[in-house]
Structures are given as C-alpha cells and as structure tokens.
Symmetry: C2
Subunit: 350 residues, 2 copies
C-alpha cells in the first residue's frame, strides 16, 4: 500500500447540491431559469449519431470563429474548454509557475485555492474590504499572477473596468486572469482590453447567461501569444476535449444574440425587482450585477433561512465559512419562482 504515499491528496471543491427531488425550486447553483436559444434545439436535431464514430474537431474551428466574430477578435485569440473550470484550471497550470504567490480575494470563486493546491502553486488570499469590495492597491505588489472575478462571486459586486485595467497595467510581468462568469448580467467585459495588454486573459462561460451549464462550454480571450501557450498546454493534456454536440450547439447559441439579450434582460429585471422585495423584508445585500443576490438578514440567521427554505423545497446556497456564514446566495429564477420564495420568506420571517 506504499503507493498511497505518492498520491496527490487534495481537498476537492464541493459543488452545490443537485437534488434529485422533483418539483423543487432550485436557486442554489446559478443556473439560468430559461432554456438555451431556439437554434440550439435545431442544432441538436441536426446531429447525426453516425458521426459520433469520428473524432470531433480538435481545433474547435467553427465555435472559436463564431466567438471571435462576436467579440471582434481573431480566431487565434479564443480558447475553448469544458466549462470555464477547465479553461481556468488549464490557465493556472500554464501561467502560474513562479515562486511568488498568486493573488486573489479571500472571498471569491472557491475553486482558485483548490487549483493552486492541486498544482502546488503558492497563493495568497487578499481580504476584501469590510463591505466586500476589492481594493485595487492590494494587487500592486510583487506576485506570481492575479485572478479577479468580475463581478465577484458570491458577493455579486462589480468592479469598474477602469479599476480592473489599473490592476492589469500594474502587473505587466505576470498573467492577470479576469474571470467574467457573470459579466453578461450588467457588467462590462474586459475583452476590449486584450488589445492593449498581452498579460490579460479574460474567461467566460456558457453556463449562466447562455443557459448551457449542462453542455460544459467555457472560453478565454487574450492576445494570440497567451492563447497559444494555453492551446499548447491543452494539446498536451487532451487534444479532443469538446464533443460533437457541444461544438454544434455552442455555435448556435452565439449566433442568436437577440435571444441572448432578451434572456439576460429578463434576469436583470427580475433581479432588480427582487432587490426591492428583499429590502422590504429587512434583508441587507450587496448591489449584485450577476444572476444571484447575496443577502443577509440582521435578525434571522442565514443558516436557519437556508434550512427552512430547503424543507419547503426551495434550494438556496449557504457556506459555513468565515465572514460569509450569515449570508445566502440566491440565484435569480423565473419571476414565478422568486415570488414563491418571497411568499415563503414573508411567512417565515413574520
């Protein structure tokens, strides 16, 4: 059993619960309540199962080209992976090989420290301010790389693109990853900045705003050189990561911009309405620019609300972690789902 001493032992990330129960309201994993674009349905119907016998396009030509067109960059500036987790994990492996610590906030996407541990990358978690904002100056010192989620999760707070640019500009000698998983819900993307900064890698996902968590599609945009390094690493890990259906439906999602904007618009409207409703119920919250709210109640413990809602079949997200253990992250569902939640909370808090 000596082989066990050479096992890379890790504390795995624990994803949000995926309950098997029917008729629940699932507001715990930031999925989109609306289906993908109609073109996705058509693309799915066009798939020929006979072709599954052939390898997919390792170069992801069509999907990369479509994304490039959408974001006004070249195809060689786009890297596609199995969800943004795959893209980010590959970026950590490729770019963070310094002895100096990689910097990211203490409260942010919980996978960053897991990847750093997995690859043995030194890292330093920089505390957010008391109101959960990222202080730019904290990222101006010596470091081995920077990861900023914008808007940040689970706080939902958006940092102005000018402030992000200051961080990128102050760190020309390391790669700065801007994780924009939630940027479509009202933020401004840093993608236009890649033209100016060769050390910038912007990562996005189809899982939230494009309603395709189930298809596992994420991507990164950067200058050709930084994307080239990422491609080399990917081709050293697994040449064929994206299967045929993912490639086929991904393209159609990007093509239907009207549907995309409509879906995102509906979620923003519901979110803003919910901010008002939650305040009426006494909740305090950040000014979320994402598809979730990050709320706390001055009188009732978040864990209690979480458990009570769960018993009603309403799943929210709660972390028993320092600084945020009295907060709930609540995904924006349909208006109907959110109204059911509000009705429950009204009764529960009464």
């Amino acid at each position: 059993m000596n082989w066990e001493k050479n096992v890379r032992k890790v504390e795995p990330y624990i994803p949000g619960e995926q309950p098997k129960r029917q008729n629940i309201i699932k507001l715990n994993t930031n999925e989109c309540p609306y289906p993908p674009a109609p073109g996705v349905k058509a693309a799915l119907e066009r798939i020929q199962y006979e072709n599954f016998r052939l390898y997919p396009d390792a170069n992801i030509t069509e999907l990369s080209s479509e994304l490039a067109k959408y974001y006004h960059v070249n195809k060689e500036q786009v890297f596609v992976g199995v969800g943004s987790d795959d893209v980010l994990a590959m970026a950590f492996l490729t770019f963070f090989n310094s002895d100096k610590p990689v910097l990211f906030p203490d409260i942010t996407y919980a996978f960053y420290d897991v990847w750093a541990e997995l690859y043995g990358i030194p890292y330093k978690q920089i505390p957010l301010t008391d109101d959960f904002t990222i202080k730019s100056e904290d990222y101006f010192g010596e470091n081995g790389g920077i990861v900023i989620t914008n808007p940040n999760a689970p706080t939902g707070i958006y940092k102005e693109i000018g402030e992000i640019e200051e961080i990128i500009k102050a760190n020309p000698d390391v790669v700065v990853i801007v994780d924009e998983a939630y940027v479509d819900f009202g933020g401004q993307s840093c993608i236009p900045l890649v033209e100016k900064y060769d050390n910038l890698l912007v990562v996005q996902t189809f899982s939230k705003s494009r309603s395709m968590a189930g298809m596992r599609i994420g991507f990164a945009v950067g200058q050709e050189k930084i994307i080239g390094y990422l491609q080399d690493a990917k081709f050293s890990f697994n040449s064929y990561t994206m299967n045929q259906p993912a490639l086929a439906v991904g393209v159609e999602s990007v093509r239907d911009d009207a549907y995309f904007k409509e879906t995102v618009g509906k979620i923003i409207n519901t979110r803003e309405r919910m901010k008002v409703e939650f305040k009426k119920l006494g909740f305090e919250m950040t000014d979320s620019m994402t598809n979730f709210l990050f709320v706390t109640h001055p009188k009732v413990a978040a864990a209690d609300i979480f458990n009570a809602a769960r018993e009603e079949g309403i799943f929210l997200r709660y972390w028993n972690k320092p600084r945020i253990n009295n907060y709930l992250r609540i995904t924006i569902g349909t208006d109907e789902e959110m109204d059911t939640l509000i009705d429950f909370l009204k009764k529960y808090l009464a």
Copy 2:
C-alpha cells in the same frame, strides 16, 4: 513580457490529421467504421435541449452504474472522464508524484511522455525488444509507477494477462496503469485483476470499439480507494466534465452488448482477412490484436506508401520516429474500404 518566463512550455502531442476533404478513406486515427449502437440514436433523440440550462450529474451516477454492472464491479470502482486521455492525464497527476521515474515502453502511446513533461514527472522509456514486445523483467526494478498499453500501440501486440499480472504483482508500492484502449478487439481485460491488486488502474475508452470518438468518453476501473483518489483530483480540477449528451448516449452504448460484440467481431474478421492480404503483397507485420495493422514492406519505404496513398485520398498513419520510421499504422475500416486500399497497394507495389 516577463510573464512568459513563468509559462509552462510544452511540446504538445500532435493528433492524427483530420482531413476536411470529402470522399476520402480515413484509416489514420483508429476510428471505428461502424456507427454506435442504435440505442445511442434513440438516446440522442430523447435529449431535451431545455435541460441544457441545468448542470449535468457531476457524479455520473447512471453511466458509472451501467459500466459497473457490465464489468461486475461496484459503481465506486468506476471513474469516467472526457475520453481516456482525460482519465490518463488525471491519473498521471494523481498517482505519479515520486522522485523515481515512471516506466513505459519507448514505443507506445505518444501521450505518456507529454503528460510526464507537462507535470514534471520523471520518466524512463524502456526499449521494446527487437520484435517490439514488452519484456516483463524490465519493469521489476525500482520505479515511480508503470504504464503499460495492452495491446500496445502502435505495435498492436497483445501481452498475455498473466504476464501483465506479474508486473502488477512485482510493483505493489506504485500504481500500475494498464491502458486498454484496444483490448476489446481480441485481448483479455485486466479488470478482473482489480479485485486482487489495489495498485492497479485499468483504463478504457468508448472511442474505438464503441464507435464514439466524437463523444469523448473514457473510464478507469480499480479498487474503491484508488478510484476515490482519482475522483478527489477530478473534483479539484473540474466537477462537471461530462456533458448531458455524453452521459445519455454512453449509457445506451453499454446496454447494447449484442451490437457491441457484432461490431467488434466484424472488425476482427476484416483485420484477420487483411493480415492475409497484406502478407500476399509482401508486407511484414506484428500479430495485431487491435483495430489496426502495423506493417512494413521490405522493399518499399513506408513514407513513400504513406504519401502515395494520401494522394489517392487514402489516409494512413506514419511517424518519422526512431525504430518505427519504416512502419505504417493502418486502421481497420469497412471491408470495402480495405479492399480499395489493397487494390491501390497492388497497383502501387507492382
């Protein structure tokens, strides 16, 4: 531009050419010439695009259970990944963390040294004998892990399971990976040995014998402990690797064993017939137990045959590498495709 000095620079694996031309005979990447099981078509048609908005089952419950049933193990003994490359890359990362070199043959699947380089794992390539066989004794010394492809690629040579067991038994302190990408074409799997050896990890793929290279499904079988470590690493890398269509169609492929055996049987028959035909043309070859032949001609250079066939729209695989630079790897296609190849060779060699 100093960020470049901390980039993990790698020499990526170059997959076989995927020509865009129509009406070609593609015998260069070991794809199956027959479509997947009919149940795969039905499963594809049942997929609801609306559900793409939800995350897939991170625990891959149904597919793991189906594979477990098929191989007479428990669900907790099965690990599923994005093709066997994903499974193997994850296994290298998880189990090969010793200062001693990981051992594998000098002529074998060309990704092993790429993964070792990617992760900074020391490794030693053990020369095959002059007739391309793996000498068991070469793997009895001190090492940091062992990878054996059985049947080996691109040689096609199968090593008796008893000999593989000797290697596993001689190395209780390291993990022994047996890569069985081609085992369904006439070999015997080591999966029954996992009961006896906690250091054994058997890896297989849906890409060849199950006609689903385009869906990216691979898996590993081992004792619960070794699979558990692999799951922890996977959940530290990307919780949701398998998208909804892959999970849905994978299950149906495993369920239809009659179709599977029929497809594999057809390929074996064609392969054996081809061995006779190639010998008639003066070729020498290994006794392949895979879905490809590994051939050389005493009078005509492999590179010349490769190029001439390519001009006729027949794609074969050739590596300009020491020891095998006068060999061709030829995937077994349909009988019709193979007869076209034989007709071409008859004319070309005349």
